[in-house]
Amino acid sequence: MQRRSIAFWLGAVVFLAAMLAMTQLVRNEYPFFAGYVILQFVVLAVAWTILGGYAGYVNFGTNAFFGVGVYTAVLLVKAFGAPLPVQIATAAVVGSLLGLGVGLLTLRMRGIFFSIATIALAIIIETSITNFRFVGGAAGIQLQRPPVTAPFDSYVKMLFFVQALLVVIAVAITRGIQNSRIGRGLHALRDDELAAECTGVPTLRLKLLACVISGALMAAAGAPAAMYLQYANPDSAFNLNYSVSVLAMALIGGTAHWIGPVLGAILLGATQQLLAVTISSEVNVLVLGVMLVLFVVAAPKGVIGLVQRQPKRRGGSK
């Protein structure tokens, strides 16, 4: 194992240990409520980067995958009373299948046309769920949490740790892709798809793979949200805000390296949480807008673009 890989996995273990220790030591529940949302955005932003950052296909349908995750969990709870790990695993499978379907239907489109198709996807799925009465339809559905599992003393703390686990999985997968042939292939097709195709890069297969993995991670991130809110309705689960926020997080952090969306999600997610309980008015929407404009103008490559003074000669910084 390379030295950087050892450092990464060591960091992941330390991160998870710290999150677990926090759930055991901190009695106040607010940090877990707020932290859960930030971690959820980290998973979404990292998952978005696989397709949107590495392959350059801007996906506006994050809310579709997230909502599918939420409603897969709702369906499993309502129909079978399925436990949380089953909800997450099934959501990931459903998300990956949706990613495959979406990829097959839309990945032949490029640029703005692909983005519009992903928005349409979210609308189609939301309309379907709105008419699916078993999961509450338009009226939404309230859910009861099962008893919490040891060593956690509250369900929110458990969900917080589960989301931290998903962060590690999502980052590890994204990092793995970035440093592999897949990542280099995706970079090649982002720079010039035709040239990549001509040089033997299997572009459609790679894009499909990116779509499948990205979709699986986004849906997995959505699954615990059903139990976090103990309520689901189509408006909230398929809220376009998820797509816009995730896009902004990835752009603010930078999309060339897996650390970019992580930083962006922490920065923007924390700011959103802070503004919600400080300024708490229309102004917080303005602040986020201004932040995005400033970053796009002053740091088009995001936070990591600011840190890395010179671009690396070879893709795949570890």
Binding site: F32, N131, G140, N233, A276, S280, S281
Partner: protein, 414 residues
């Protein structure tokens, strides 16, 4: 030196003298809530908050609650269910508020119900609909005049049946609130033995209703129950104005959201004539209770500064009443103990500016006060006309009634 010493002692004694007074100054009672101030529910949320703020200022002017000033801790939930769990966790764990009010509407409230139940906290609801039906929290008190779940449809459909209606058309938006009402309307229609000849849910983004209105007309319904949101309420009325609904329709309306808000009412003007629709408060003689007139005098002035609904009939007085109920319970029990307050609220009738309020076991009003009123003689582009009685005549419930239904609908539109 002696003079300095003397001055020093004098200052120390003065400070000591002030200390008991400072100790006696008790910290304020903090009431925490989230309120939609941005997003789709913001219009209602801001008006509701203004009503609560007027109560806070009134009670503070009277010396406070239990001798302590009242302070509101309010955060914007952006009209979203996903924001409220973290906000209420902060209110409880960081801000350490003494009491909780729920945000306006069902969706932002639903996720906090399990939290308050888990922690055994009193929660004053704010215009939610059946949000406690599955949670069964015994310290929930919904500050909304809905009463039993089916009362809404019962009022309208009973009026229609009394006017000779035998068949019903149901037109509803595919959204949370409208679908809840549509479900109860179907149940009530069954109970009243009304034949549902048309039942159509439409997507919330629909803007053109002429084809739906034509399809509905083809079924020749006697009663038309509409559960819609502001943009579609306006679009439906425009389509009806162009196409008409025929003389067979005895009564039209029911649950059209938007026709309670000044901006929409001003915009639609005479198009609303004849429509029988729900409301929660109206400037009719039967609706004035102790303090109602004074409240609206204050509200009218402050609404201009706050740039919220200038009429504020739908939500604002209920915001004030929410404070009044807490005030009555705290004064009677002489404490802020949440269990004691809940017990008082369950067992007593509270006198408020929207009338006497008694809660049922499930935390909803024991008796519905949801009004069904008919628009009459409304002119275009004049918001002030709605401040006078007679523009929305109350037909239901009987104890608040100020007139009889004009039927058929086409005649009432004239």
């Amino acid at each position: 030196m002696n003079r300095r010493l003397l001055l020093g002692w004098a200052a120390a004694i003065t400070l000591l003298g002030l200390m008991p007074a400072a100790r006696a100054e008790e910290p304020p009672i903090r009431i925490g809530m989230s309120m939609p101030q941005t997003g789709g529910l913001a219009g209602g949320g801001k008006a509701s908050l203004l009503g609560i703020e007027i109560w806070r200022d009134d009670i503070n002017a009277r010396g406070g609650l239990l001798g302590r000033k009242v302070e509101l801790v309010v955060y914007d939930d952006k009209s979203s269910a996903s924001e409220t769990p973290a906000i209420y966790a902060k209110l409880l764990d960081i801000d350490k508020v003494d009491l909780l009010f729920a945000p306006y509407a069902t969706v932002p409230t639903a996720p906090i119900m399990p939290l308050v139940k888990q922690r055994g906290l009193l929660l004053m609801g704010n215009f939610s609909f059946q949000v406690n039906s599955k949670v069964h929290h015994d310290m929930w008190f919904n500050n909304a005049p809905w009463g039993p779940a089916d009362s809404w449809a019962t009022g309208f459909l009973t009026l229609g049946q009394k006017a000779g209606g035998k068949t019903m058309a149901l037109l509803s938006a595919d959204q949370e609130f409208a679908q809840n009402l549509a479900t109860t309307a179907r149940d009530v229609a069954k109970k009243l033995d009304l034949n549902v000849v048309f039942d159509q849910a439409y997507p919330p983004s629909l803007a053109e209703f002429s084809s739906i209105v034509r399809a509905m007309n083809a079924t020749k319904p006697d009663i038309v129950f509409v559960a819609s949101y502001p943009p579609d309420s306006a679009a439906i009325l425009r389509a009806v104005n162009e196409i008409g609904v025929g003389d067979n329709v005895r009564i039209f309306g029911g649950a059209m959201v938007g026709l309670q808000f000044a901006a929409v009412m001003e915009n639609l003007g005479s198009l609303m004539n004849g429509v029988v629709n729900f409301n929660t408060w109206l400037p009719e003689p039967s609706m004035y209770f102790d303090g109602t007139k004074e409240f609206f005098e204050t509200y009218s002035k402050r609404a201009v500064e706050a740039k919220v609904d200038p009429l504020g009939y739908y939500l604002a007085p209920y915001g004030y009443a929410m404070g009044q109920m807490v005030e009555a319970a705290a004064n009677a029990t002489k404490s802020l103990d949440q269990k004691g307050l809940a017990k008082y609220l369950h067992e007593n009738t509270m006198q408020t500016i929207v009338g006497p309020i008694t809660f049922a076991e499930n935390g909803e009003w024991k008796e519905s006060s949801t009004l069904e009123a008919q628009f009459r003689g409304v002119k275009d582009k004049n918001v002030d006309q709605f401040r006078s009685p007679g523009k929305q005549v109350i037909l239901f419930p009987d104890r608040l009634k100020t007139g009889d239904l004009i039927t058929p609908f086409e005649k009432a539109r004239e």
